[in-house]
Subunit: 135 residues, 2 copies
Amino acid sequence: MSGDENAVLRANAAFYQAFAARDLRAMTGLWAREAQVVCIHPGWDVLVGRDAVLGSWRDILANPENPQLECRNARAHLFDDVALVTCHEVLSEGVLVAANLFRREDDGWRMIHHQSGPLSVLPSPPPSRPSGTVH
Amino acid sequence: MSGDENAVLRANAAFYQAFAARDLRAMTGLWAREAQVVCIHPGWDVLVGRDAVLGSWRDILANPENPQLECRNARAHLFDDVALVTCHEVLSEGVLVAANLFRREDDGWRMIHHQSGPLSVLPSPPPSRPSGTVH
């Protein structure tokens, strides 16, 4: 595994650690400052820009009803200065599948996009022909 | 709007045109050849690599039960040689929200990632506090 891949996976882990710790300061710090940021929470419309994205995380982290989740099966794909990490977000009531996008900024890899949505098939073992909704 | 932004939005439109026309040859041509490709259909697990991704599109495009959809509200965000397009996918029975990622290759912008999932709020007017599932 390359140094960049390790660094991106650490950035991805930091995102889930900030979520687990309900740590808005850490969450704020890991999103990009130089580039535009975009976020699509499950069921939500697209949020664009730090104010909208970090405002959503402020509300989510402050909501005691939001469940804990565990990141599993994170896998990084590097495209020069942008990296895509896919992973499962395991909750007690189900599994979400997420794509997290990072960009190399001056002080490290910073998140520029997060999207997650429900997985309608079990992630393990990998299905050869998923039976979920297609489009 | 920049030339790159226009080009990326045209690549995004070509993706939906290929879907509407059930055109596997066009769909195959617009995915990246140099870089890794990733796809998350609604409810499905992550697909990685041209064989898995294009195999899924072959099955989807050949399935007469898959509905038509219309791309609306496409918006491009450029990060040097990678671009993220968000949009709504409007079907007769609901709306999906999608993120499509493109990378500049030698012969133009090619898709490297697609993810879409159900929107549980109406996209217009934009909700200030979406009521969908959060995580």
